[in-house]
């Protein structure tokens, strides 16, 4: 029997994977992949909770999250193309030229 706890554990595992990805990866493309994993982890959580309560709004939210994730990545990839044209690399460390 798969219960809510299992789904939420899956959410937690995926979320930790995503966080590790964001922190460790130096490739900007991989960084975007990691944020997608994070968003999908949250999606699973929403859908599972929605099923548990028998309340559909959570599943509607996960549709919205998919749309928002797509628009965010669209902007991100657009910037990535611009950055690659400028610097010839998609390494995260190449962003360090601006002194903070």
């Amino acid at each position: 029997m798969i219960t809510l706890t299992h789904y939420l554990t899956l959410t937690g595992i995926l979320f930790s994977l995503g966080i590790v990805g964001v922190l460790r990866r130096k490739n900007l493309l991989m960084l975007f992949f990691s944020t997608e994993i994070l968003l999908n982890a949250v999606n699973i959580g929403f859908a599972a909770v929605s099923k548990y309560y028998g309340d559909l709004s959570g599943q509607i939210f996960s549709f919205f999250i998919i749309a928002i994730a797509a628009s965010e990545v669209a902007v991100g990839l657009g910037l990535l193309v611009l950055w690659y044209k400028r610097s010839g690399t998609i390494d995260l460390d190449s962003l360090q030229m601006m002194k903070g």
Partner: protein
């Protein structure tokens, strides 16, 4: 279906329609930047006027409640914040058009994106539901990411935008995780339902909800650039074109505070004290770190960006004292937001007008002897800096006064002391510019300084007058609306939160 509810949605609708109309108009060659700016201004002013219709009353209405299922709310609180946000949009368009015209950022889409950002912020303040506010936050943030990186031949813009995007998307994921946990804990994402759940259950039973609320608070701290999450703001503010920096620094912060005040005051009314300890240290560290950053900057833009972190710290002082003195602390936050909005918008606007013709005048040294060449501009700039530093007879002083008094009343004397020390330090970096402008002989000014003509100086001048009016107005003419009017309206705004 009630048709008169539409009145409460008109500010939002007008901006949304305006954004789409501008998007359709901008590829047409016949519409120059100038014409598009008038279209944008038209929609902004319609929105401002419809918003002002309900000003001065205490009301709280959920427009078309069965259609939107109580996801939107329109009350005095949202009306108050809406008027600041829309005013921010208007000032940005009026002052920024000159800058967009002069720089080769010559694309009309800027105004469309700006209106989308304003739309997102209005929705954020009006949303009564966590998921709606997430979507609103994303509309505003994504528009801002694009606005920062819009001038794509400039590498700094792209970089600033990129950093903001990466860190901002992390912050919004934190927000989403928080919403999931609250949804799992309370079976609802509506702010009023969550509030009734929280007041009917014991604190031990709602660990999930508290963790969720803390995650949302982290997003909030990130977006207002508080201490551990402040690094993006320097890059994003530095990278963005000046009018956009002005818009981000003043208006976005107002919108975020509008949302989080509603969230904390309505929802976590009983649990406010849980966060006081964390926020206490966050406020102190934000002020100290921001002051250190601001002292060592040579570029004025970076100095103003760093000082906006310090101002976040002042606002957090009042936010901490909400736990014990709810009403007066919330009122002082709302009032300080107006004061900060006027001063920083003015300072950034002035800078963007001066920097629009030549892109030279950006550091302290460039302003050496400025007052001998452009006395009125130097005077306006000094007024904004005095207000930012909180010198009496400006609106900034009264804002700080209420915040520090509130902190002492609620027992956080240490916060008030640190705040006052940070103010002393801030006098150094603000007055350095005033001293350079006035007390040094003027060498030949390099480049061309724009004359004191046209709309931008007029708008900036009006803001300078408003700052002085806010500081001394009531003592001169007692029956004319001044500072008391603003504070009373802020109180109404607070009361309207608890009517729903």
């Amino acid at each position: 279906m009630k048709y008169d509810d539409i009145i409460y949605l008109l500010p939002l609708l007008s901006i949304g329609v305006g954004a789409i109309v501008l998007m359709l108009l901008s590829p047409i060659k016949k519409f120059s930047i100038d014409k598009l700016s008038w279209v944008a201004l038209f929609f902004l002013i319609v929105s401002f006027a419809t918003n002002a219709l309900n000003f001065g009353m205490v009301y709280s209405i959920a427009p078309y409640a069965h259609l939107f299922s109580y996801m939107l709310v329109s009350d005095t609180f949202s009306g108050y914040f809406n008027s600041i946000i829309i005013a921010g949009g208007i000032v940005t368009v009026l002052v920024g058009t000159h800058y967009f015209d002069k720089s080769n950022m010559l694309r009309g889409e800027v105004f469309s994106l700006l209106l989308f950002a304003v739309f997102g912020m209005l929705l954020l303040v009006q949303s009564n539901e966590l998921f709606t506010s997430f979507i609103a936050l994303e509309i505003a943030s994504i528009s801002l990411y694009v606005l920062i990186g819009f001038q794509k031949n400039n590498v700094r813009r792209i970089e600033g935008s990129f950093r903001y995007l990466i860190l901002g998307s992390m912050a919004s994921i934190m927000f989403l995780l928080g919403v999931t946990l609250i949804y799992a804990g309370t079976k609802s994402t509506n702010i009023l339902n969550i509030a009734s759940y929280l007041s009917s259950h014991k604190t031990e039973d709602m660990t999930l909800t508290i963790v969720g609320g803390t995650l949302i608070l982290i997003t909030f701290l990130f977006k207002i650039a508080a201490f551990p999450f402040q690094n993006w703001s320097m890059d994003a503010y530095e990278g963005a074109p000046l009018p956009i920096t002005a818009f981000m620094a003043s208006t976005f912060k107002v919108a975020i505070f509008g949302f989080i005040l509603r969230f904390v005051l309505v929802d976590f009314h009983e649990l406010k004290n849980i966060w006081s300890d964390i926020l206490f240290y966050v406020a102190i560290l934000t002020m100290i770190y921001g002051s250190f950053l601001a002292i060592f900057q040579t570029s004025l833009k970076r100095m103003l960006a760093a000082s906006s972190i310090v101002h976040t710290g002042y606002l957090l002082i009042a936010f901490v004292s909400i736990g014990s003195i709810g009403e007066s602390a919330a009122t002082s936050i709302i009032f300080y937001l107006i004061a900060y909005f006027l001063s920083s918008m003015g300072a950034f606007g002035m800078l963007s007008y001066i920097a629009s013709s030549d892109h030279l005048r950006v550091t302290y040294e460039d302003f050496r002897g400025f007052s001998h060449v452009r006395p009125y501009m130097a005077a306006m700039m000094s007024i904004f800096l005095l207000s930012l530093a909180g010198i009496p007879s400006t609106i900034g002083f009264i804002g700080k006064f209420y915040i520090f008094i509130g902190a002492i009343e609620s027992g956080y004397t240490i916060l008030a002391i640190v705040g006052i020390l940070a103010t002393f330090v801030s006098v150094y970096y603000y007055f350095k510019l005033i001293a350079l402008m006035y007390f040094y002989p003027s060498p030949e000014m390099k480049g061309k300084i724009p004359p004191l003509r046209g709309i931008p100086p007029l708008v900036i001048g009006i803001m300078a007058i408003l700052i002085i009016w806010g500081g001394i107005g009531n003592t001169l003419v007692s029956y004319f609306p001044g500072i008391d009017f603003l504070i009373d309206t802020a109180k109404f705004a607070y009361q309207s939160l608890f009517m729903g």
